[in-house]
């Protein structure tokens, strides 16, 4: 009796395995049965996603190089100390090139339908080659030490439902002419951020409005921003923008090859004289560097998830002035403030090229 039972038990087991060998995908299937479906868990909500169709790929890791051509910096005369009658004379500095490494990483830490949280890191340097670095402090700082930025970012995409979402980004950057030998304390971190409330109308359009605290024009500013990401029904054309920070109009050749043109505002507030190379009476001078990059950009997949990005265009100077911020304390000037700069410099415009290799996100 027991033998019969165990035999039948084995037969059942074998039958299960025989059924498991069947390739059900080979059978014709009535797909219409899947049209009428609901979530098995009645409490489940649908949320909009953070992307639209044919968006530029999100870069997980970036290794790039930026090169700017010749330019002239008319460095202004400025007092050797606040209120001093002694001053450094003005000088016209001939910049042969300004170039440097650009590194970035941006990794999703939490990825849920109800929210995505990403952490990022960026490093950018600008090494100046100045023909006549001479006597003006700007020549000494830029030619001998260059400018550096090390930053951390956090980005949160929070959908509220299938149509509406919040997008928040916060960033802390350490900017200056510091080096490994002449470091800069975290007291001089500069913080920026953006908050946007938006709508995802369909799989090819999302837009939103918000406010940004930014250093993209050099000094601290608060500006309204507009997010607009759109792909045309043909899926050959598109727009991606967080205006005014950046805008790109895209020609999508296919999902592995995109040509775009537009602009990006790029800027920061850089602490100068970290090395103490220039003897002066200011404890903290900051270069308010802001530039508009009007560019063409071509991005294509080299091999699977490895993308090449090449951009080139005009680097238009917006601001290259210097402020005195005692003890690193920031202030708000905005577009209409009257606070005087310590130095009002003129930097001529030039062309630039940037090339990068990127690992893009799934």
């Amino acid at each position: 009796m027991i033998f019969k039972f165990s035999l039948s038990f084995l037969l059942v087991l074998c039958t299960v395995n025989i059924f498991a060998q069947t390739d059900t995908t080979q059978q014709e299937e009535d797909y219409s049965q899947y049209e009428n479906a609901g979530f098995a868990d009645s409490g489940t909500k649908r949320y909009c996603t953070s992307k639209i169709l044919d968006m530029s790929p999100q870069k997980l890791i970036t290794v790039g190089y930026d090169y700017q051509g010749t330019a002239t910096l008319d460095a202004a005369s400025f007092a050797k100390a606040p209120g001093s009658v002694l001053s450094f004379p003005a000088q016209s500095l001939r910049i042969r090139s300004a170039q440097g490494l650009r590194l970035g990483a941006n990794v999703p830490v939490i990825s849920r339908n109800s929210g995505i949280f990403q952490l990022g890191f960026n490093y950018a340097e600008t090494r100046y080659d100045i023909e006549n670095s001479g006597k003006h402090p700007m020549g000494t700082w830029l030619n001998n030490y260059g400018l550096r930025t090390v930053g951390l970012q956090a980005t949160l995409f929070k959908p509220l439902n299938e149509k509406q979402f919040f997008l928040a980004q916060a960033q802390a950057d350490l900017n200056g002419d510091y080096t490994w030998n002449h470091t800069q304390t975290l007291k001089y971190l500069r913080y920026s951020g953006t908050l946007i409330y938006g709508w995802k109308k369909h799989d090819r359009l999302m837009y939103g409005f918000g406010l940004s605290r930014t250093y993209r024009v050099g000094d601290l500013n608060y500006i309204p921003v507009v997010l607009y990401n759109y792909t045309a029904p043909s899926r050959k054309w598109g727009v991606e923008t967080v205006f005014p920070a950046r805008l790109q109009v895209k020609r999508i050749f296919n999902t592995r090859s995109i040509l775009s043109w537009g602009h990006e505002l790029e800027g920061q507030s850089y602490r100068l004289n970290n090395s103490g190379a220039v003897n002066m009476g200011y404890d903290n001078l900051e270069l308010r560097r802001g530039e508009l990059r009007i560019r063409f950009m071509y991005e294509r997949s080299l091999y699977r998830f490895i993308w090449l990005s090449v951009q080139s265009g005009l680097r238009y100077n917006w601001s290259y002035d210097v402020d005195h911020l005692p003890n690193g304390k920031e202030f708000f000037r905005g577009f209409f403030g009257k606070q005087p700069f310590v130095m009002e410099n003129e930097l001529s415009n030039t062309w630039y090229t940037q090339i990068s290799i990127n690992l893009v996100s799934p």
Binding site: T24, Y34, A37, G38, D41, I61, N254, S361, P362
Partner: protein, 149 residues
């Protein structure tokens, strides 16, 4: 004789239990973007997922059913997306995880390594990644119940 039965049962029952647990993956699931529905089936002890429904079933340019036009292999670009297997070769690794498989993204023609983790009976974490799991993205899929007509 009883000891033989118990021995056989001792071997067979964990196998059955393991299969049952792995089979929890079977069913129809919806990715977070809601643009498709994927039916997971078992073939030769491995799990596969095919597209059974598309929010936009026809190509807006041709008006015909969508094809896998982004596939890097030219010969596969005429294969209809409906019925296409985008999850392949998953085996149950225990603890609510299915490993060893790949996920295909028809939007860009890329295939990624993939780990599937069942958060609860109706929720999957689908992590597509490149080489290392850290370089990836997790999408949350929800189980669907098919309502009979």
């Amino acid at each position: 004789m009883l000891s033989v039965f118990l021995m056989m049962a001792g071997i067979a029952l964990p196998l059955l239990a393991s299969n049952d647990e792995g089979d929890k993956l079977m069913g129809v699931w919806e990715p977070s973007n809601g643009r498709a529905r994927v039916k997971v089936e078992k073939v030769a002890n491995k799990y596969y997922g095919k597209i059974v429904w598309l929010k936009e079933p026809n190509d807006p340019q041709t008006g015909l059913p969508k094809l896998d036009k982004n596939n890097p292999d030219d010969k596969l670009r005429t294969v209809p997306l409906k019925g296409y297997r985008l999850l392949k070769d998953f085996t149950y690794a225990g603890n609510g995880e299915w490993k060893g498989g790949t996920i295909y993204d028809p939007e860009n023609g890329n295939t990624y390594n993939c780990i599937i983790k069942m958060k609860d009976d109706n929720t999957l974490d689908i992590r597509g990644y490149i080489g290392l799991s850290a370089f990836g993205r997790t999408d949350v899929w929800k189980r669907l119940q098919i309502n009979k007509k």
